[in-house]
Amino acid sequence: MSDHAENAGNETHGGHETHHGDYVRVWKVLLVLLVVSVVGPIVASAIEHRPTALAVTLSTAFGIAVVKAYMVVKNFMHIQFTQRFVPYLVVTMLVFMFLLFAGAAPDVMKSEGRNWVKPGWIAENADYRAHHPDGSAGGAH
């Protein structure tokens, strides 16, 4: 909100002029990306090596979602033709959500932490049991 001081009192309405691009081409790229994001995890499920499969799933599903979202925001919502604070505003909101995640995840996402455990969560979590074969649920460390 700092770069519009000089515009005070300016009562015209164009703002920045929006430049319309080739929307159909953007749409075609988006559809290709959609196909990749669906096919990627299917391919991944055929891969034996688990870390590779996970990497393929994550990158095709979420990496491409980010790309798609960026394309929509840029080409359809014309964020680059708004005032500069708008992208900052959007990024700030996302940063706040990341803060929420960072603050809450050590409690909510974990099944155990310093001096506490969630026995119910551990009981249903096969991965955890695989790593802790004694199945102890009561002891904290």
């Binding site: 703002g15 929006t18 749409w27 669906v38 995890p41 979602a65 359809f76 959500m97 969560w121």
Partner: protein
């Protein structure tokens, strides 16, 4: 009660038209609403194995089809914006109606999908995954419905060449709804 618009609305000290400015603020406040529920979902998803097992019962093809529908409707919305900018209200209204059609199709597919999920016994109270599945998608669907209703109103005005700048505003909102779905789709359907 004044029927005329206040002068305040016509001022533009920030360099941005008031409506466009406001729509971005609406989007900012929506980001944190969806952010709250998706952050919660991601935390639970990463903590529970059962989420992946449950997510395997979702229908990826329906989700993908709905993504296709929303992407296409977004294309229509931006074409409407282009038409409105060139002053062609009738064309803008036509494209807006195509967008509405996309929204309605999305909701119809969604209802069909939900009905079949519920028919197979996966209700909102079946497990935390399904709770999130219905809550997050339901919140999104509510936005789709609201968007369609507003779009019909905007299209009716645009047809008579009134308030053409609104075409862009509803379009920006619609693209945001699209972006939310772009993230919901892999989160709910693909991550198995």
């Amino acid at each position: 009660m004044s029927s005329a618009r206040p002068i305040a609305t016509t001022r533009s000290a920030s360099g941005m038209p008031t409506g466009r400015l406001a729509v971005w603020w609406v989007i900012a406040s929506e980001i944190v609403i969806f952010g709250g529920i998706l952050t919660s979902y991601v935390m639970y998803r990463l903590a529970h194995d059962s989420f992946a097992e449950q997510a395997a019962h979702t229908n990826t093809w329906i989700g993908a089809f709905n993504t296709f529908v929303l992407l296409t409707s977004s294309l229509m919305a931006v074409q409407a914006h282009k038409a409105a900018d060139s002053g062609d209200g009738a064309k803008a209204a036509r494209f807006l109606h195509y967008t509405c059609l996309g929204g309605i199709l999305f909701i119809l597919v969604k209802s069909f999908e939900w009905a079949s999920e519920i028919g197979r016994g996966y209700t909102i109270s079946s497990s935390p995954f399904w709770s999130f599945y219905y809550t997050a998608a339901g919140l999104h669907a509510l936005h789709v419905i609201a968007g369609v209703v507003i779009m019909f109103i905007v299209a009716a005005a645009a047809k008579q060449y009134r308030d053409l700048h609104r075409v862009e505003l509803i379009g920006v909102y619609w693209h945001f709804v699209d972006v939310v779905w772009i993230f919901l789709f892999p989160l709910l359907y693909i991550a198995k």
